[in-house]
């Protein structure tokens, strides 16, 4: 890091060295990561670890969590700690189940957004206008939402064919999916294009097959709501960092009194921030409803809180949140495949290989003391791989959470939340 800063102005005044840029480091980490996974796949002889099916499962698992994370990000950037995302997602599921059944899948998406927004506006009334502690208000939303959902379900779905107090009758129609032509063999005006990535994946070549699996997983049978989710990450990034409204939203979270002195209405910004946040969380609920084609009580099951964890992992940035959600989605995705135990073993092997590479790097850098510590971890990971011939299922199921925990604790070293989030603000405060 320091070398980059010292060297940059002298050597590369007009041509910044790509080899020392953060971009290059990111690229190097990604390439090494794929290499490690590929090596683990070949050694453990488990092609499913980087198959398109596994990555597809990861993407579908990640989408609602990513939306919850993005919802938390917008709320917290504008100054409200939104612990009520879980409840907003629940409101999203019940509205999506209702509108999806009455009006079709696209209206399920709209209904989810509306439901989440209603819950968010209720919370905004408490936090922004009345100055209620944000945690208390968020917990209240989480407690109220399931009650409202149960009440609505009993009014709407009971007595309908396929519906019950815990389930909607099912959406009328599917939202449809998209497969990229040529890359993954999607249809082009009724003509089946060649599945190039699929053929590369089947070769099993080192790294080539893994990259193809990743690309094919992300471009095969992606439903339109997931496409929209990905688009929203770019949209929200653009809003927050390239538009006037975004600047004001962040201003309300960083320095509300300064924003106020410059004529920005802090309360208005926090209301808008919460409305967007609730809409995103509710859409996360709608994505769940669209995937399983119905509302089912308790189907959110903690994804709102996982979203908040990915937001913190991502340091309140959209890209980081997306990576966090993707990581968790992949880790949970492998538990949903056939033979999850073997996949977790392969993941342990990959961790061992990565740690061994880290030790080698540290020895080259002459960091002997930390290298010793990492060696211990590498040995533990390698031993677990050989010892756990058929791992305990408890271990398998805890994997996504352990991966998230490790990632958050590594990532948490350099976090910076919005400066004055969670603090009720009123005119005249400094």
């Amino acid at each position: 890091m320091t070398a980059t800063i010292d060297a940059a102005p002298i050597e590369t005044a007009d041509r910044p060295s790509f080899l020392h840029s953060a971009r290059f480091r990111m690229l190097a980490i990604v390439v090494i990561g794929i290499g490690v996974m590929s090596a683990a796949r070949l050694i453990a002889d488990n092609p499913d670890i980087t198959s398109s099916g596994t990555f597809g499962a990861g993407l579908r698992t990640a989408a609602p969590i990513a939306l919850a994370g993005l919802a938390g990000l917008v709320a917290e950037r504008s100054g409200t700690v939104n612990i009520g995302i879980e409840g907003m997602m629940v409101m999203g599921t019940i509205f999506a189940g209702w509108w999806g059944w009455e009006f079709g899948p696209w209206m399920a998406l709209v209904g989810g957004i509306v439901g989440g927004m209603l819950a968010a506006l209720l919370m905004s009334l408490a936090t922004t206008t009345f100055g209620v502690n944000h945690i208390v208000a968020g917990v209240a939303i989480n407690l109220i939402a399931p009650g409202i959902a149960r009440f609505m379900a009993s009014e709407l779905f009971v007595g309908v064919q396929g519906g019950s107090v815990t389930s909607s009758p099912g959406n009328s129609g599917s939202i449809g999916a998209f497969t990229v032509p040529f890359l993954s063999g999607g249809d082009l005006f009724g003509w089946q294009s060649p599945d190039i990535l699929g053929k590369l994946e089947d070769t099993g070549w080192f790294m080539i097959a893994d990259i193809s699996g990743l690309a094919k997983g992300l471009t095969t049978a992606v439903t339109w709501d997931v496409v929209l989710t990905i688009a929203l990450f770019f949209g929200i990034s653009y809003l927050l960092w390239h538009m006037r409204l975004g600047l004001r939203l962040r201003f309300a979270g960083e320095r509300p009194s300064a924003a106020d002195s410059l004529g920005v209405s802090v309360h208005k910004m926090r209301w808008i921030g919460m409305a967007i946040s609730g809409g995103l969380a509710g859409m996360g609920g709608a994505v769940l409803v669209l995937f399983s084609n119905r509302y089912l009580e308790n189907q959110v099951s903690g994804r709102g809180f996982l979203g908040l964890a990915t937001m913190i992992f991502g340091n309140w940035m959209p890209a980081g949140t997306a990576i966090g959600a993707g990581l968790f989605g992949f880790a949970q995705g492998i538990t949903l495949r056939t033979g999850p135990g073997d996949l977790v073993r392969t993941l342990l092997l990959a961790a061992a290989i990565a740690l061994i590479l880290l030790v080698v790097w540290m020895l080259v850098q002459r960091n002997y003391a930390p290298a010793g510590t990492v060696t211990v971890f590498a040995v533990v990971a390698l031993w677990s791989y050989f010892a756990a011939q058929s791992p305990n299922n408890q271990l398998v199921f805890v994997t996504p959470y352990v991966v998230t925990l490790i990632a958050v604790s590594i990532g948490a070293q350099r976090l910076r939340p919005p400066a004055e989030e969670g603090i009720p603000w009123f005119k005249g405060m400094q």
Binding site: F130, G131, I144, V165, P169, L296, S301, L336, G428, Q430
Partner: protein, 368 residues
């Protein structure tokens, strides 16, 4: 930290805070109220009078209280089946019925005790999650009879109503093997506990009975004490999709509401007749949309209504209802559904297997 230069402003904030707290409290109460009102004890409808019982107060020997699992009546499955048994008892036996539905894990014991305090002679908990609550209540109220569905509580005044799920699962496993053309079938369990493992054990044994070389793919959605696996159709669908991708053409879901997701995956995986799904507990052919019905091969039936009614009947007629009561194939406590007619061609083979199980020629394992 924050200096307020406007005392009036501070007062205004305070009053706003009070207002907000009042509003939130009101909402909270409203939310609780809506739940408890639907779950408060209600005497059985006019059927009580129709049966000639004029004793409307829940003090007689034949007053029965039922505590449902969290989802409550209207789930079109387990709780509705227990409710149907209770309704039948109210109509045919003149039982005074009371019902209650918990709103969370915390108030199970209170609701059981509440029904005891109302004077019910028998209190029935629907679902194995009532194990602790019933154990505690049975010890505290030795004069009351208790019953629990799906779990064994070892106490002199408790009737433990358990089902031979492995026997019913054996038959649907055999049906899966008879219908499979790929030689690979799947099993999805909601939560990996001993109860759901019984389903897996029976299913696998039934499939191997038909085809010893069959491959059975097994996945569970969550691990206890995380019971989200019974209500997460998204994960259910994802698992079913990967099992179909791996070559399975029949998948049996013992996963509560998550099974609905597995049915969706069947529709994505292939044409009706090529891929199948098997339901659980109740006849799920009747629960799904018409587009999915051609995929529902059969359902493993668990006749909670029969068990509930029989136990109440024994109790009301002065019999000893306590102890472990197993509802198996011999008393039609478990079975398989035939709606849709997809198993008509193999019904003879299935009935032959059923006869062998009842006769004791086939002993179905209860653990995989």
């Amino acid at each position: 930290m924050y200096h307020n230069h406007h005392p009036e402003g501070e007062n205004m904030i305070k009053s706003k805070k009070l207002l907000a707290i009042a509003a939130l409290a009101a909402l909270g109460l409203a939310a609780c109220g809506s739940d408890s009102s639907s779950s408060s004890s209600t005497d059985a409808p006019d059927t009580t009078e129709a049966a000639g019982t004029t004793d409307a107060t829940a003090t007689g020997d034949c007053a029965v209280g039922v505590v449902y699992d969290i989802t409550g009546r209207g789930d079109r499955s387990f709780n509705d089946a227990a409710g149907a048994g209770l309704d039948k008892a109210a109509a045919e036996l003149g039982v005074t019925a009371s019902e209650s539905t918990p709103t969370g894990d915390g108030d199970r014991a209170e609701r059981v005790q509440g029904l005891v305090d109302e004077g019910n002679g028998m209190v029935l908990g629907v679902g194995f999650l009532f194990g602790d609550a019933i154990t505690e209540a049975a010890a505290n109220n030795p004069d009351t009879t208790f019953a629990i569905v799906d779990s064994v509580v070892d106490a002199p005044n408790v009737a433990s109503l358990v089902f031979a799920e492995e026997q019913g699962s054996f038959l649907v496993g055999a049906a899966a093997a008879l219908k499979s053309t790929t030689g690979t079938i799947g099993f999805i369990g909601g939560v990996e506990n001993d109860l759901i493992k019984k389903f897996e054990a029976g299913y696998t044994a039934g499939a191997k009975q038909i085809n010893p070389d069959i491959e059975v793919l097994v996945n569970y959605i969550s691990q206890p004490p995380d019971f989200s696996g019974f209500s997460d159709p998204a994960r259910g669908k994802e698992i079913a999709a990967s099992q179909y991708e791996a070559g399975a053409d029949v998948i049996y879901s013992a996963a509560g509401g998550s099974g609905l997701g597995a049915f969706e995956a069947a529709a994505d995986a292939g044409a009706p007749g090529d891929v199948w799904a098997i339901g659980v507990d109740s006849d799920q052919y009747n629960l799904v949309s018409p587009e999915l019905q051609p995929y529902i091969l059969t359902s493993m039936l668990k006749k909670v209504d029969v068990a509930t009614f029989n136990t109440i009947k024994t109790f009301c007629e002065g019999g000893d209802a306590s102890g472990v009561q197993v509802f198996d194939l011999s008393v039609d406590g478990v079975g398989y559904s035939t709606t849709g007619g997809f198993v008509d061609d193999i019904a003879a083979q299935l009935d032959d297997l059923k006869a062998q199980i009842v006769a004791g020629d086939i002993v179905v394992p209860t653990a995989p």
